[in-house]
Amino acid sequence: MEARVLRRVFLVFLCAAALSGCSGGPAPLYYWGNYESQVYSYLSGERREKQIEALSADLEKAESDAKALPPGFYAQLGLLYMEAGDDAAAIACFRTEKERFPESAAYMDFLLGNYGK
């Protein structure tokens, strides 16, 4: 009987070790969608129109699923609108970034201040 108990303990130990390795981790804090790849596209100098489309699609999806968008998402979209000449949309995006993430306030104010000039 003792042998059986010990073998079970050993198997449980193995299973726990194995499972902790392949648990997949906790749920992410944010909905990432196309954000990373679109930032890569932007930094690589690719065309902006498709980037606005891709991020707008993410925005819709996140809002309909009530998921949080990551730091910088709204600011990225704002930057794209700014380059496209849509100032109102850009300002709205920078303001949203500031609301969602108060740490962005100093920088968002800097960007919004440049608009005021």
């Binding site: 690589s44 910088g72 800097f110």
Partner: protein, 224 residues
Amino acid sequence: MLKRSFAALPKAPLLAALLGAGILLSACVSPPQKDYTAFRESRPYSILIMPPVNLSPDMKAAPTFLSASIRPLAEAGYYVIPVSLSSETFRQNGISAAEEAQAIRPERLREIFGADAALYLTITRFGASYALIDSVVAAAASARLVDLRSGREIWSGSANVSEGSTNASGDLFGMLLTAAASQILNTISDRAYTAGRRAAGELLSAGKTGGVLYGPYNPNYGTD
């Protein structure tokens, strides 16, 4: 055969021996403990990712690492200053080289971006290299996290990711052909991009030995 010997041995000593071996092995492989005192004192809420210094010959290294560094830091629980905008701000202020940007005083960075800390990245390897028999894709970088309020370094780390294209057949001519073909494929494929993302993830994720601490937006903040 293993089953038979398992059945033959007394169980308790075997289990103890296995547990003991695990502890001994982990002691052998665990890296020296990092000192997180400065990090804990700093308690940064936001991080500015500086334009990375790129020591590789591949132009895609910097955009790859910049874009791939956002997620691990944001998921760790930090506000990451929007990367495209900060890049634009540097550019529009006449800062074209990463070395120039990285030489700016912490107080000035804090003034403009309002970040609590800045991440200084140096990309040491990126892209595919043709090594006669095999074609390896690699991405490696080191990073320092500096508190912009005190100017102190609070953390540093590095990551090195590489994957080779292996030829199963084993004959030399076949291997040379495979290496050449995969060199072409590697340079036009996104294997380097994938390796870069993995390297950034390994470098900047929280919840691992030697990694950054959890930030304020993560429920695990303060537990590590």
